[in-house]
């Protein structure tokens, strides 16, 4: 008992996490009853939709999209019912485990596929199904004339199913299934218009970046299995919170972070998100803004006990978040493509969430809170951007927009609410979540609060500038339209979802933020906010400082992009602008640091295979020089040298063993 109290004192949130969230899996507490037992329908309904649409083929062209939308709403209804049932229980009894079946039983390695329905996963379920269903509705309008819209809706349903599986899984292994599933849906949708080679390349890039991340996640799972002998949340997180080797926890934490970076477009794996905007706009709104890209934040928050046992990994999370939030903000300032500017902003906002998630118990709840509000306002703005594109012949260059507020009143109004929310203007949603993250970043001792706090503060100022720039360039100032466009408001199917999301952008934060509803709701999972932690700068001062910076950023944007004339072609700009336009040279860096050495390595190795080189040989001779000519002799097609290889191999291995023993 003594040790228990001690552990409790030293790591309160970890233990409370264990006690509340995972004791349920020990079997004595909560078996799923009533509607909760049907939580598997959440995954099954959209999956059914995807299956019907894909297998049914052209026969389902007529009713397919509507069916997919209906099933997505069905999942929302199930989610809402489970949520209500959960509210009916006391806070400590809300987490429920549902065992589905024994999935893998390979000797000592046993994994039962099951769902974990707790406050954290339900938050995601409601966000995913609600925003997802709205975007289904929007897509009915947006994709109306696309000949392949059945396939589009099938992928969309597939995505919703995989995403729900990701957040509902009760083990890292099942989470990994969902993780790969959302990745798959994402590639399919980015490359949906794959008649355009650039779009196909974008899908390819997302694939590679995500593979690097997934590789990290799979290593993390392997190490977990090695260390704990299990991969389910109950065991892993339970033991991580009580007795765990810090070295292992750091390794697992860093590998999980690598996975999170790939999925959530965090530094240094962020380069794919901008290109992913090649997908249809509803996809950008749902997958690349509101839900999938936040999976990394979910992973970090879910794995809280691991990170708490590994301060180094936790610090790296915060650093990654801080770098990404500034990186995205700077890139966002220079983009003229409305969707790419929004993508940079998404990257930056997820940087905020990641930073908060790395702060520990002071930040978890706000990371998720910001994720929730961001899901509404960013999805709303993306749908707004889609609506603008719809009215402007699918143009995306903001330098050719301007003055659209008159032509598209609803789009303008809903976008304005999202804009105010992301700026963090009180009382709109973003204020309640982002301001809390800034406060939390200023908590701590030594250099950290100053560095990370200032990063978030400066980030807020830049955010205000680039989002205002985007907003003013699109909706205000002079009309800079090309001759053939006739902007018009979009149909009801598109505007109604935008309005709903705008309402969320406006009021969601106000309802559940200052009232403490959200933090107390999540508390059993994320642990209580530590008492007596104060920012190094007093809260009112901090709040005032933030608002001043935001106002300054917005005013600067007003001067340059509303009052002044905006050039229809991008001016040369200074060095920083040029760099930001090119995503701060991240592609070049990736190429120089990763791709080229990788290509050289593999190509020089492939010289070991005489028949594999084909056309590549000519240009490469210069690169790999003399080494290759020696290596290529190994697989030259001559049986005699193959035999020699074998003999040499036998002699070498026996010789090596001889020397060892």
């Amino acid at each position: 008992m003594g040790t228990l109290v001690q552990t409790l004192a030293s790591s309160p949130s970890a233990l409370s996490t264990y006690a509340a969230g995972f004791a349920t899996h020990e079997g004595e507490a909560h078996a799923a009853t009533g509607v909760t037992a049907y939580a598997w329908l959440l995954v099954a309904l959209p999956l059914l939709g995807a299956a019907v649409l894909l297998v049914g083929g052209r026969r389902t062209d007529k009713f397919g999209p509507v069916l997919a939308t209906a099933l997505s709403w069905g999942a929302f209804v199930v989610g809402a019912l489970v949520f209500l049932a959960m509210l009916g229980r006391g806070p400590e009894d809300r987490a429920v485990g549902i065992d589905l079946f024994d999935w893998v039983a390979a000797g000592a390695f046993k994994v039962s596929a099951g769902l974990l329905v707790d406050q954290l996963s339900m938050t995601f379920v409601l966000l995913i199904t609600f925003v997802g269903s709205l975007i289904h509705v929007y897509s009915l309008g947006y994709m109306e004339h696309d000949p392949d819209k059945r396939r589009f809706f099938a992928y969309l349903n597939l995505f919703v199913a995989a995403m729900l599986l990701l957040v509902l899984a009760n083990s890292y292994l099942l989470l990994y299934v969902g993780w790969e599933g959302v990745g798959l849906a994402s590639y399919l949708l980015i490359g949906f218009w794959n008649w355009n080679p650039a779009y196909a390349t974008a899908a390819n890039k997302a694939f590679v970046a995500n593979r690097v991340g997934d590789f990290g996640l799979s290593i993390a799972i392997m190490v977990m299995f090695f260390h704990f002998g299990a991969v389910d949340f109950a065991t892993v997180l339970g033991e991580a919170g009580t007795n765990a080797n810090q070295g292992f926890m750091t390794a697992i934490g860093l590998m999980l972070l690598l996975g999170a970076c790939g999925k959530s477009a965090q530094f240094p794996l962020q380069s794919w998100l901008g290109d992913a905007m090649a997908g249809p706009t509803p996809v950008s709104a749902l997958i690349h803004a509101a839900t999938m890209v936040t999976a990394g934040v979910y992973l970090v928050v879910r794995s809280a006990p691991i990170f708490e046992a590994a301060p180094t990994a936790q610090l790296v999370v915060v650093i990654v978040g801080a770098i990404t939030l500034l990186f995205g903000a700077i890139v966002g300032c220079a983009k003229d493509d409305i969707k790419k500017a929004l993508a940079a902003s998404t990257m930056s906002q997820i940087g905020y969430m990641m930073l908060a998630a790395g702060l520990g118990p002071v930040g978890y709840a706000f990371a998720i809170f910001h994720l929730l509000t961001h899901g509404f306002f960013k999805a709303g703005m993306f749908l707004g951007a889609g609506s603008v594109m719809h009215g402007m012949n699918d143009q995306v260059d903001m330098r050719r927009f301007g003055g659209l507020s008159g032509a598209m009143k609803i789009t303008w109004a809903t976008f304005a609410l999202g804009w105010l929310a992301i700026l963090g203007v009180p009382p709109f949603s973003g204020f309640w979540s982002k301001d809390k993250i800034i406060e939390a970043a200023f908590i701590g001792e030594g250099w950290r609060p100053w560095v990370f706090g200032l990063a978030t503060l400066i980030g807020a100022g830049i955010t205000a500038f680039y989002m205002s720039r985007l907003f003013f360039m699109t909706f205000h100032g002079k009309k800079r339209w090309t001759d053939d466009v006739h902007p018009h408001e979009s149909g009801k199917l598109m505007t109604v979802p935008m309005m709903v999301l705008a309402l969320g952008s406006a009021f969601l934060g106000l309802i559940i933020g200052p009232t403490g509803l959200f933090t107390s709701w999540l508390e059993p999972v994320t642990g209580a906010e530590p008492e007596g932690a104060h920012p190094v700068i007093p809260v009112p001062v901090l709040m005032a400082l933030t608002l001043v910076l935001v106002a300054g950023g917005a005013a600067f944007a007003w001067l340059r992009y509303w009052r002044d004339e905006v050039a229809v072609t991008a001016p040369a700009g200074n060095l920083l602008t040029q760099a930001a336009r090119k995503d701060l040279y991240q592609d070049q860096v990736n190429e120089a640091l990763l791709m080229r050495p990788g290509i050289h390595l593999t190509r020089s190795l492939v010289f070991a295979d005489g028949k594999g080189v084909d056309g590549a040989a000519g240009g490469l001779a210069a690169l790999v020089g003399g080494t290759s000519s020696r290596l290529r002799k190994l697989q030259n097609g001559f049986a005699r040298s193959y035999a020699l290889t074998m003999l040499a191999g036998v002699v070498a291995i026996l010789g090596a063993l001889w020397v060892i023993s």
């Binding site: 893998v104 000797g107 390695f109 794959n194 190795l605 028949k611 594999g612 191999g649 036998v650 026996l654």
Partner: protein
Amino acid sequence: MTAVAPLALPAAFQPSNVDYLAILPLLIVFGAALVGVLVEAFAPRERRHVIQVGLAVVGLLGAAVAIIPAAGHQGVTMGLADGSTNRQMFALAVDGPALFMQGTIVLMGVLGILTMAERFGGTGPDAFTPSGASTPGSANETAAARAGALTSEVFPLTMFAIFGMMLFPTTNDLIGMFVALEVLSLPLYILSGLARRRRLLSQEASLKYFLLGAFSSAFFLFGTALLYGYAGSVYFGDLSRAIASGPLAMNGLLLPGAFLVFVGLLFKVGAVPFHAWTPDVYQGAPTPVTGFMAACTKAAAFGAILRLAYVGLDTGRWEWTNALVLVALLTMVVGAVLSVTQTDMKRLLAYSSIAHAGFILVGVLAFDRKAIGAVLFYLVAYGFATIAAFAIVSLVRQNGAEATHLSQWAGLGKRYPVVAGAFAFLMLAFAGIPLTSGFVSKFAVFSAAVGTGGATGTVLAVVGVVCSAITVFVYARVIVLMFFSDAPDDAVEVVTPSVSTTFSIAIGTLVTLALGVLPSALLDLADRASQFVR
């Protein structure tokens, strides 16, 4: 002196009782192969193909059914009983792993036969040539065609190979193992050289396979001689006992002997540095033969490796484990890295098979009963996916010839979504993505390695995970190429296969899916079958 007296056959030896039910599956396949030779000689030409395919399939299915009664008759059977010491020389060990492998091989053999039977609707254009020794278009070939030579002898040849493969993991001594090795190899050498198109490549592959195979057999025999010198016996039980109690003075024979015997077996699975033949032979052999060979030979040879490692040389593990660890590391790394830049589909799959051999070796080196189950599962999962993959490769054609260059596969997904989708799924399985059999099998062997393999096992597993991450790029590239690239103007076509090939592709793909979603039943079976008799 060694613990066991040297073998000299005294008159006291007598044949032991043979449990015919235990070896019934072997007898059925062997019988079907022999009948196949008679069919070749006596059946009318126009019906020979149908009869041969039917005979082979019925024989294999019969053998599969016969495994059920055989499972009730496990034990060491056949061979010579030594009246004085109660040893059984040249016996067959009919036990869990042997029967599991036999079942796997016959079922995969059915799919292999069905793929080889593909004639694309006509009677002529199958994958094989009636006269393998001729050059295409030569007078010899014309004469052979005029004389009405057929290609149906591939079926008895395949049946003999399958018989050898079933025998391979069942034999319980080094000499028997060598015989099985040759029985399975010789038909494969011939089959490799029978490609109808790109004949020279095929003949070259056949010759290389034969020469290097003979070379590796020499290693095997030399190792056998050394081990006999060490233990005074070639029987696995004696070897194991001799090593356990043997004098250290003789250890100079043990390590080279053990390793050289392993070399002969590792050659068959394509482990590095004994892999050089794999890409050339996989590329040159007729594609249905490649698929059959990749799946079944690998299964049989790993069955034999398991028996040698867990029954014959288990007590001398500390001597030879390091050598195999080295081989496993090399195999994974070389297979994965070299697969990255392959431009020919069959060579790509060849390097992929090398990498997979490395992963399976990781499981073998875990030295645990659970690991045996994992390895058995892996072989089934890999085999079914491989046969289906090669069957699909044989369908993608340009001007009638197989289009194996990767660039020819560009844009295939847009025009043939079903075939390309199935192939993409199999690629995902090779990559080890969840919900495919590849994921479960990789996880099973790697977790066995970290679970019971100690520090070495952990290193192997980590290298394995890294290498499988590398290979993911290879498979991803194929998928991206098929679905996201534009088809060239002279695009390839997917020829419509007959029912038999469709069946084997469908079964291979479905098994891959089923083992990914609900692997428990087979994992359980493999686990229960993981007990060797001694």
